[in-house]
Symmetry: C2
Subunit: 338 residues, 2 copies
């Protein structure tokens, strides 16, 4: 008996759907989340794949997340659409809101989608990728829970505050990046703690603001650090402001307070910007597109990699041969159905 089992992507989707509906999620929400879980597993982002079902169902059991929330769309202007997720998971709100976002971006060149009151646990790349598939460049920003200290400080203020960006490319994978503005993901530090290893310098500080390589200190009493020193800290501040106060939603400090340190899925807002290169182009759109391709080529020609390449390679494998799930994880997930 091997310690993994093989599943087709359809089987992953069906499994996710069964688990989510079994835990009371409406069909629309379950479909939206199942799609995102398939995408995570397919791209071998394992923490965003089948594994997420464990977290997701825990959030549902906690009763904070609305299982039947119907996202409410407000057409704010020619360039802004807002979706109140009504304390449901964010995926369905994004799927509904992004249709309006795409339409507005195509008509006006740029548009913004503000999602409010959503429980957010997925990566941002599926969102910006879906916009790139529709020919748009996109930028997505969201706070999380306050775990990260500002440069020069000692106490947590920022979330891991990810930003994701995509640029559509003809006949291939889009250019996509999605990174946390913290030096590393919180889960990474957790893995070091579990295995009793010291973390590399630059990841976190103790309660006095001094550098430490002890993961437990960082997680319990100290704070994580941003990537890139004061520049990363500034970037994280920008994300707090644009995906928080700008859209009338919570900062990472407020989101963590709301959670009451229960360690639940953060509830806050998200801002997604979309840009239509075909609209912006004032002359020859194909020449502008070729200009972008030249940029990518000047990167790859020298042996440097574009972001997300590992994901795209994993995707090709998974589309051809399905995915391998650890048997223990599969059993844990099946147990959620009992």
């Amino acid at each position: 008996m091997t310690d993994t089992i093989s599943l087709s992507l359809d089987a992953v989707h069906a499994l996710a759907l069964r688990v989510l509906t079994h835990h009371g999620l409406s069909a629309a929400h379950a479909q939206a989340i199942a799609r995102i879980i398939v995408a995570g597993e397919r791209d071998e982002c394992h923490s965003h794949g089948v594994f997420r079902l464990l977290m997701c169902t825990r959030s549902l059991r906690d009763g904070k997340v609305s299982c039947h929330a119907e996202p409410r769309v407000t057409d704010r202007s020619a360039a802004v659409v807002a979706v109140d997720a009504q304390y449901g998971f964010s995926q369905l709100a994004f799927e509904i809101g992004s249709q309006h976002l795409v339409e507005k971006a195509r008509r006006n060149g740029i548009a913004a989608l503000a999602i409010n009151n959503c429980f957010h646990f997925s990566a941002l790349w599926p969102e910006v990728e879906s916009l790139a598939e529709q020919g748009l460049a996109a930028l997505a920003l969201t706070p999380s829970h306050a775990w990260v200290a500002p440069a020069g400080g000692s106490r947590p203020v920022f979330g891991t505050n990810p930003m994701a960006f995509s640029w559509p490319r003809p006949g291939g994978q889009p250019y996509v990046f999605d990174f946390a503005t913290s030096a590393v993901a919180r889960g990474e530090i957790e893995l070091y703690r579990r295995s009793g290893r010291a973390i590399p310098p630059g990841w976190g500080i103790d309660a006095a603001g001094a550098a430490t390589t002890d993961p437990a200190t960082v997680l319990q009493h100290g704070a994580m650090l941003t990537f890139g020193g004061y520049k990363g800290s500034a970037l994280s501040t920008m994300i707090e402001l644009l995906a928080g106060p700008l859209i009338g939603d919570l900062t990472s400090i407020e989101s963590k307070a709301l959670d009451g340190d229960a360690g639940g899925t953060p509830c806050h807002g998200e801002l997604i910007l979309a840009f239509d290169p075909a609209f912006f182009s004032q002359g020859d759109a194909q020449a502008d597109q070729a200009r972008a391709e030249q940029l990518f080529q000047s990167i790859t020609d020298q042996g440097a990699r574009l972001p997300s390449q590992r994901r795209f390679e994993a995707r090709a494998r998974s589309l051809a041969r399905g995915v391998q799930i650890p048997r223990a994880l599969h059993e844990d997930v099946l147990a959620l159905l009992r």
Copy 2:
């Protein structure tokens, strides 16, 4: 005789105007640039103050920059305005375009200003600050000349690609950052070269992509590095795309090729986004503003500094007492009038 001379801000403005018009710049351009030079000197950003007149007049003597270019505004949509700078300096194009940008952002919540075909040599903070003074949050992006290698590469692709962001604050200085996505400014490495010092690790690489601390190697045969490793590299790519191909303008590689390695002022585009918090706010705009203030306070309360504080402190000094200019620099500038 001291080695500096004291000038009022009005005197700096008058001096800049005289020099710029003496070198053939139209009154409108000279006024716009004089304002930006006063702002740089006032905030003790010396490389963007009076010193810039030396570079600026050199560009004018080279004959590449149009002295009388009249920026052409095109109203592209409810949310996009484009300004063709017609190969003049960027300041006037920004001043003219930003009026439309502000109006569009107030009406629709978000708006974009694309500036094309401009010679760009100023910092971006005066632009985003001027938008914050009008109650808007703003993000400005521009490429430069290809001097910076992508993460994992060895050859220059990116410019120093700055990004600046501002957030309006009631009754005080706005929140503002403006940083290069390169590890440091190119001029900083130049200073190390001149004084024969080794640069710190992480600033640059040699032609084979290996780390080096020799500034001449980085400047002549190698490449600068971005801040923040692959994340900074991704951010710099985003800036190339949004402020280049998206708006139908040059990448940093193309801008450098156009310059023919003459070391002139880069000619390319710029993208400025503006967001109106008053528009976005769906409920209580004051509460949202208070939320942002709380974020700033949670940073400063722990002794961490907000970006631009040093500039604001210098500004207060300069507004009260004028500025000190090195006597030698002052004489070099006066010599430009002969």
